[in-house]
Amino acid sequence: MVTDDIRALSEALAADPSSTVFLQLGEALRRQGQVELAYRVATRGLERHSQRFEVHDLVARIAVDRGDFARARTEWETVLLLAPGHSGAQKGLGFLCFQQGELAAASRYLGAALEASPGDQSLSAALDTVRAAIADEQRAPWERPTAALPATVGALESPARPFAAQPADARTLFAEVLGDAPQAALLIDADGYVMAGDYVTADGHDLGADLGAQLSGVSDEASRAMRHLGLGKWKQIVFESEAASVAMAPCGEGVLLVAAPRTVPLGFVRRLLERSLDRARRWLESGT
């Protein structure tokens, strides 16, 4: 969605404040990374249209982008009251429950969402991860895979981390590819949610959700540009900023991104991206 579209939607909303055009406007702003503005538009719309499940769904997705997971949960629970079986709400609640360690609830929500959308690869991969985590929980501690330990230890040492890390391999999926260097890889689904990987700052905060939400919009813009320029599908985007080099590529229905400090040579960042892509594809296809 481009700025012109946002302008047109804003004008339409101004002309008729009681219309539901705010749904499109809020979504467009969210995708463009203007999360606070999107939140204001959506919550204002919610005041007028509190009985519409789409509005609660929009507020929930924006709340996730803002890191307000409690609000997101409340809104998605409301969606399920208004529209029982809504697959987007079940998917969102599944991810939230998983991140908060409620594995049984996560499995229930994701299973129901997968029944509604059987072709959604991100859901089947997420459900596999949750089931693996449940199986791990049922084993004795000394029988659990050691690969999950570093993330768990990191979480215990860092009280600022929003969630306790799960004994599953989604967050540590790229650990082997990235090694100990301060690099990060994130697999993001088509809705901008993090499916695997994490981005933990030096003070222990996991900014993966923020980063995913902000940067997934770039891939939407790239797809749009490619349609007009006739250069075929985009394969890779690389950009250098003041603090980091970022490389991203389409993966499944979403996007994979790798970030590394500027001191890491750009060619190496691209190599990391390719290796992370191989890892993510294997995980999406076989769950291993």
Binding site: Q32, Q214, L215, H228, L231, I237, V238
Partner: protein
């Protein structure tokens, strides 16, 4: 008529695989100066690349990475590179096989001469 960018663009278009280069307004995507081979739709490339560059710029800033310097998009049929300074973006359209390392260096060097 020569612009302050003519010399820079003339040098860049001579690189093997480069089919077009232009200086574009970052905020409006309008071409300030360009050197294009026949068949390259300069206006479309300019508008879309500026938009993409702005998007990356916003996302990068919001993610806490700071302002974007060099940007590259690789597609099946070629690649588009961009680098910005002072509200202007230097854009290059090239084939898939171009030596992007040289292009990047030349673009970053060229940016230093931007007014």
């Amino acid at each position: 008529m020569n612009s302050p960018f003519t010399q820079t663009l003339s040098a860049l278009i001579r690189h093997r695989g480069v089919t077009g280069c232009m200086v574009v307004g970052e905020s409006d995507g309008i071409i300030v100066d360009s050197s294009l081979q026949i068949g390259v739709n300069g206006s479309a490339v300019a508008a879309l690349t500026a938009s993409l560059y702005r998007k990356a710029q916003r996302a990068s800033t919001a993610a806490g990475f700071g302002m974007t310097g060099f940007f590259e998009l690789v597609a099946e049929g070629g690649r588009v590179c961009a680098a910005g300074r002072n509200e202007m973006v230097l854009v290059i359209v090239a084939g898939a096989k171009v030596n992007v390392g040289i292009i990047r260096m030349e673009m970053l060097k060229a940016l230093e001469s931007f007014p």
